[in-house]
């Protein structure tokens, strides 16, 4: 049995006479984008909460957009991602006074995807590190409190909350992760494992999956060539695009120099009985002359020709 439930996280740039663009500016380019994913046999599609109104604008409603996805062989819209990178007076998970506003945001997001195939609501649980610093047990506990509330509201709507930890977020070390999961209800707050982000933060994603297997909701499969051993994570204004000396952190699976051991992770997943979606993500793949279409095709090639054989290892 080779793994069939592969979803794709909605990052894409298409070329137009007006330069490289995100395809959602018109239907022609959106459907060319979906055709390319369908040609690669992705059957799940995750997007951003802020993209839902854009797709609704293009097709009339989120439901109508989901039907377009289904016309292209997708099970439907399978995941939604939300984040508050910078702290503002309106949204700062480590400040209790903003929790009501954030919970209201998630009520709107949950309503927007009602009736769709969305299983996971994936969140970056904190603002950027330097907006939370100093990171203390207290900031982690207040953050946990928020996500317990959001997890509860989502659970009532049959949605699972998954926390996805950027290397430049304010919960990143094994200790911080442990404290966070200790203070969150395993049934309401899941773990969403991004292979590159944890590797960059110096934490082994495979070990994390083993530890938090029961509450693991899904994965972002992407690779990296660098570990952040020079505190890029806490340097303003932004570590993901502006780190000194590292213009690009993320690469697709299977590139030379990749640090993540995907075959080993795949075996572990198959042994664990995990049955959710495995999501491929290519974030900022256009850097340095890169290309979303090519990276995505090459990653799916790696899945079908390398990870597929990794399965054999699992049958040992």
């Amino acid at each position: 049995m080779t793994w069939k439930r592969w979803s794709y996280m909605d990052h894409w740039i298409t070329r137009t006479p007006q330069g490289p663009r995100q395809p959602s500016f018109n239907r022609k380019h959106t459907e060319r984008y979906l055709r390319q994913l369908e040609a690669l046999e992705f059957t799940g599609f995750d997007t951003f909460s802020f993209a839902l109104p854009v797709y609704a604008g293009l097709y009339g409603s989120v439901g109508a957009f989901e039907r377009v996805l289904q016309d292209h062989g997708f099970a439907g819209l399978t995941g939604v991602f939300s984040a508050y990178p910078y702290a503002t007076d309106f949204a700062a998970p480590h400040r209790r006074e903003t929790h009501d506003r954030i919970v209201a945001d998630f009520e709107r997001t949950a309503a927007a995807v009602e009736g769709s195939a969305v299983e996971n609501v994936i969140v970056m649980p904190t603002n950027t590190y330097f907006h939370v610093e100093p990171v203390t047990d207290e900031t982690i506990k207040v953050t946990a409190e928020l996500w317990n509330r959001v997890g509860a509201l989502l659970a009532q709507r049959g949605l699972a909350l998954g926390c996805h930890f950027e290397f430049w977020g304010a919960i990143r070390t094994e200790e911080e992760l442990a404290l966070f999961f200790e203070h969150t209800d395993p049934d309401l707050v899941g773990f969403f494992c991004d292979t590159a982000q944890h590797t960059i933060a110096g934490v082994d994603p495979l070990a994390l999956f083993r530890r938090y297997r029961e509450r693991c909701r899904g994965f972002h499969f992407k690779d990296t060539h660098n570990v952040d051993d020079f505190e890029a994570y806490r340097t303003p204004p932004d570590a993901e695009l502006m780190a000194t000396g590292v213009p690009r952190w993320f690469y697709e699976m299977g590139t030379p120099g990749g640090l993540v051991d995907f075959p080993a992770l795949m075996r572990e997943i198959l042994d664990s009985g995990f049955d959710g979606w495995l999501t491929v993500e290519h974030d900022k793949a256009d850097l340095g002359g890169g290309d979303f279409a090519e990276s995505t095709a090459v990653a799916k090639w790696y899945i079908d020709n390398v990870l597929a054989s990794a399965r054999a290892g699992a049958a040992r």
């Binding site: 740039i13 298409t14 070329r15 137009t16 006479p17 007006q18 330069g19 490289p20 663009r21 995100q22 022609k28 380019h29 060319r32 508050y84 990178p85 910078y86 503002t88 007076d89 309106f90 949204a91 506003r101 950027t128 303003p236 204004p237 932004d238 695009l241 502006m242 213009p247 900022k284 256009d286």
Partner: protein, 276 residues
């Protein structure tokens, strides 16, 4: 008032993750300077990657407004000519409020939001804030209220003057407020397949300028001047280039030069043919 030609930087922002690193800004400033422009126009934005468009992010990236001016000077740019701002565009830093210049109830929020930009502009020694008069017609529907729009623009003009800044009202091809009137050079007959400009790109003075010679100018009390020049017929496929005479050389918001560099461009291309 320094007058002259500046270049709009918004064309470099082709996707949300592009044009963020400071070395990319530097290369754009130098390209603009090398091409003969001595000033740049900024544009309002939101989020940490709008680090040339959002005051607090600009200050964080360059230390301060003065630090940004030093950086520009090092790249051969003397001034920030203007900043474009759409009051109806939601911003994370403002809780993603949806505001409309046509709704008096939103005017307080609009003025508070403007204050953030006006403070930056005065620190930058920039004398012009280009304010989009309304949200796009598609979003506004029948809710356009000229009196309400004029009222908030007047209050913005007064607030701007306190910072040594003047408001220039920006009308673009999606605005509901552009009324089709006969205009020289552009075929205005409704049956014409598209609005075609037979003459060279028309220079119109939507934007207030110190001495708007060529157009009749009505000057409301506060420092805003809206010039009444015959407008080119704004049709869906506007093919007129409007070169803002006084402050910046910029194609219309919808038309930009091509990817990657400021000057490499595709051969004449019908806009319907995607590049793939």
């Amino acid at each position: 008032m320094t007058a002259g030609w500046s270049y709009a930087l918004n064309q470099w922002r082709q996707s949300p993750t592009s044009f963020v690193r400071l070395e990319e800004h530097e290369r754009a400033f130098k390209t603009v300077s090398a091409a003969g422009f001595r000033a740049v126009e900024l544009w309002a934005g939101t989020g940490r990657w709008s680090n040339l468009g959002r005051p607090e992010h600009l200050r964080l990236n360059y230390g301060s407004a003065a630090g940004f001016l030093d950086r520009l000077a090092e790249c051969g740019i003397d001034a920030v000519s203007s900043l474009t701002w759409d009051p109806s565009a939601p911003a994370a830093e403002e809780g993603f409020e949806l505001r409309s210049t046509s709704r008096p109830a939103d005017h307080g929020a609009i003025l508070r939001a403007a204050e953030t930009y006006l403070e930056l502009l005065s620190e930058l020694g920039c004398e012009r804030i280009v304010v989009r008069a309304t949200e796009p017609a598609g979003r506004l529907g029948s809710g356009f209220d000229a009196a309400a729009v004029a009222s908030v623009l007047d209050r913005l003009g007064a607030a701007a003057q306190d910072h040594g800044v003047r408001v220039a009202v920006d009308i673009d091809c999606l605005s509901p407020s552009a009324r089709p009137t006969a205009s020289r050079g552009c075929s205005s007959s409704p049956t014409a397949p598209s609005s075609t400009c037979r003459s060279a790109p028309r220079i119109s003075s939507w934007r207030a300028s110190t001495r708007s010679r060529s157009s009749a100018t009505t000057r409301p009390a506060s420092g805003t001047s809206i010039s009444r020049t015959p407008t080119s017929r704004t049709r869906k496929r506007a093919t007129c280039f409007r070169v803002r005479k006084s402050t910046s050389c910029r194609g219309t918001r919808a038309v930009r030069s091509n990817a990657g560099s400021s000057s490499s461009g595709a051969t004449p291309v019908s806009s319907t043919l995607p590049l793939c």
